[in-house]
């Protein structure tokens, strides 16, 4: 059982506090992704789990055992670094064998283990090469190979794909998901790429400024973002935020007068909101349709084939993006009439906290 519990982890570098009371319970065999903007403390948190960095306060518990202060090997973790961190003077075989050599494992055992890892990662015919002779994707696989030979309980990845080109990244994403299934291990994966997060994660931790904004499944984050930050971070293109004022609250939901003109009645629990409060309506570009109600001054059109992205402004200055049909009759410089199903809207109060949606799509767990 390799559960991983972080209890009130805080970290300061000198006077700068970069992690604030992080509390997470990661289940056995779960694939958890940390996402967040650059500098939000993802790597720092991962390094604390690894034992490369000491937390200022808090506890790390792996498999029910308090390992704060323990050596990485005793924690049963292994780590794949963003830069691969391969030993350039050693062959692929020796790179993968390194953790076993440290343990002074017997030659036969060692060979068998390295070959098994190389097999899983399709590196068998590369074992005699030096890392310098490999492509980026192969190097990444060697780094992963080195982390799996030791058969750790928890795998830690720090942006392992960020140095690869887009196509290769897609392939490696699939391979990593497969690997997770094959190894049946707990994995913690750091990235700032929300596509990686959405596609690979069982659950996602969204970090912002050293705090956990939300911890949930990809679909929870997509349909029920807890904060404006999460809503804006998850989903591509990003969610639009349209400012407005609460015009009234009744059984049907919250009526909002948009600054850009028009009134929407949203099926959302008022949650203490009262007439006159400033709010922001969150609208995902993919929920926007051609219709009546919103008028977009189109500035840029991107036709991707299947979808057409229309960028522009609602009213005078609200930046807005709509993802429309591939053949949508949108033209740059011309106004475009759009509509949205009120049930698809999110509503955020002035602190950026979400108000609960009544009618949300059923979650696929």
């Amino acid at each position: 059982m390799a559960t991983l519990d972080l209890e009130n982890i805080s970290k300061s570098f000198g006077s700068a506090k970069v992690l604030h009371d992080i509390d997470l319970a990661i289940r056995d065999k779960e694939f958890v992704v940390f996402v967040g903007p650059s500098g939000c403390g993802k790597s720092t948190l991962l390094r604390i789990i690894a034992g490369l960095e000491e937390s200022t306060a808090g506890k790390i518990v792996i498999g029910g055992q308090d390992v704060s202060g323990a050596h990485p090997v005793d924690r049963g973790i292994s780590m794949v670094f963003q830069s691969y961190a391969l030993y350039p003077h050693l062959s692929v075989f020796e790179n993968i064998a390194f953790p076993l050599r440290v343990q002074k494992m017997g030659a036969d055992d060692l060979k068998a283990r390295v070959h098994r890892a190389a097999d899983i990662l399709q590196l068998t015919d590369k074992l005699q090469l030096k890392p310098g002779q490999l492509s980026g994707g192969q190097r990444q696989r060697v780094a992963i190979g080195r982390s799996i030979v030791r058969e750790p309980k928890v795998f830690l990845f720090d942006e392992p794909l960020s140095n690869l080109d887009a196509a290769l990244r897609g392939d490696m994403r699939v391979e990593l998901s497969q690997l997770h299934r094959e190894l049946n291990a707990t994995m913690v994966y750091v990235t700032h790429d929300q596509v990686e997060a959405m596609t690979m994660a069982d659950r996602i931790v969204v970090l912002n400024g050293g705090r956990v904004e939300q911890f949930g499944t990809p679909m929870e984050l997509y349909h029920h973002p807890a904060t404006k930050f999460v809503a804006g971070f998850i989903g591509q293109p990003n969610m639009n935020f349209v400012p407005g004022v609460v015009a009234g609250v009744d059984a049907a939901g919250v009526a909002v007068d948009l600054d850009a003109g028009g009134r929407l009645v949203l099926p959302i629990e008022a949650d203490g909101a009262a007439k006159g409060d400033r709010v922001e309506v969150g609208m995902r570009p993919e929920d926007i349709r051609l219709g009546e109600g919103l008028s977009l001054n189109v500035k840029v059109i991107e036709r991707l084939g299947g979808v057409t992205l229309a960028y522009g402004a609602l009213g005078d200055d609200t930046r807005f993006c709509a993802a429309l049909d591939g053949v949508a009759p949108a033209r740059e410089g011309e106004p475009l009439a759009l509509s949205i199903d009120p049930a698809a809207c999110h509503l955020f109060n002035s602190d950026g906290r979400v108000m609960r949606r009544k009618a949300a799509p059923a979650l696929v767990a």
Partner: protein, 281 residues
């Protein structure tokens, strides 16, 4: 590459500067060589002639008779410098690693002191050193020339190697640490193999300096003829009547030759980048 593009004028300027610089450094060697070929009586003839008909390599064979221990002196020079280099490395490697990677109190202060020590030449400290060596009973042994050499070169070595070690990606060591390797194991299996070019640079620098500075220690701390290095041994070419300059120059060049050959051979290691493929480019 854009960076390598110079206009013709710039190129001429650069080559001219290099030529002048090299001229200053190399002309004395050319003169040494010419003198070594010249018969002794030509040396003081005037007007001075750069080339004469009876130039020969005679001096190169006669020098071994004039100074019978010459071979021994050359060997001593190399031996002393080699020992100084080896011992210096033994001290410098762990020290430089500590300065490059560990945090400890007074780290920068200590480094500063090391730099300051570098500014003293051995000459200032000869008398105290003499007393120390006498107390330890090391006078008139090889150690009298080796120990001070090592002591003076450790700071230089630390400064050179530390900056090299700092360039080795920290993540490599962290990876080794996560995989359970101890500091020493990491140093031996990861850091040192990657630091080979740096180690060669340090060895070469230490060897050359040791070769140059042994003269001072030899004439002050050692009276035993058989232990003298070449620069001290060259004194024997100074006779009661006259100095056999041509043989002295021949002997100097011969003494430096083996060292030069080794360095020519090592040069390719100095430029080789061993860290290729370690981390993302």
């Amino acid at each position: 590459m854009m960076m390598d593009r110079y206009s013709l004028l710039q190129k001429i300027g650069i080559y001219l500067a290099v030529a002048i610089f090299l001229g200053f450094i190399l002309l004395p060697f050319v003169e040494m060589f010419v003198v070594s070929l010249r018969p002794l009586e030509h040396l003081f003839s005037s007007p001075y002639r750069f080339w004469g008909e009876n130039f020969s390599f005679d001096a190169y064979s006669r020098m071994w008779e004039t100074v019978p221990l010459l071979g021994r002196y050359i060997w001593n020079s190399i031996f002393i410098s080699g020992m100084v280099t080896g011992l210096t490395l033994i001290f410098v490697i762990p020290a430089a690693y500590a300065f490059a990677r560990l945090e400890f109190p007074f780290k920068n202060g200590t480094l500063g002191i090391f730099l300051a020590v570098n500014m003293f030449t051995g000459a200032v400290l000869l008398i105290p050193l003499y007393r120390v060596l006498r107390t330890l009973g090391l006078l008139n042994t090889y150690w009298a020339m080796i120990v001070p050499g090592v002591a003076f070169l450790i700071p230089t070595g630390i400064w050179l190697l530390r900056s090299y070690l700092e360039k080795i990606p920290r993540e490599l060591e962290e990876a080794a640490f996560v995989d359970g390797a101890s500091r020493l194991y990491t140093l031996r299996r990861v850091v040192l193999p990657l630091a080979v070019p740096g180690l060669i640079v340090v060895s070469v620098a230490v060897f050359i300096t040791a070769y140059a500075q042994q003269f001072l220690f030899a004439i002050t701390f050692n009276q035993v003829r058989e232990l003298q290095p070449l620069p001290a041994g060259l004194y024997e070419f100074i006779g009661y009547q006259d100095v056999t300059w041509n043989e002295m120059m021949a002997a100097s060049l011969t003494g430096v030759l083996p060292v030069m050959l080794i360095f020519l051979f090592l040069q390719k290691y100095l430029v080789a980048g061993l860290t290729a493929g370690a981390v993302k480019e």
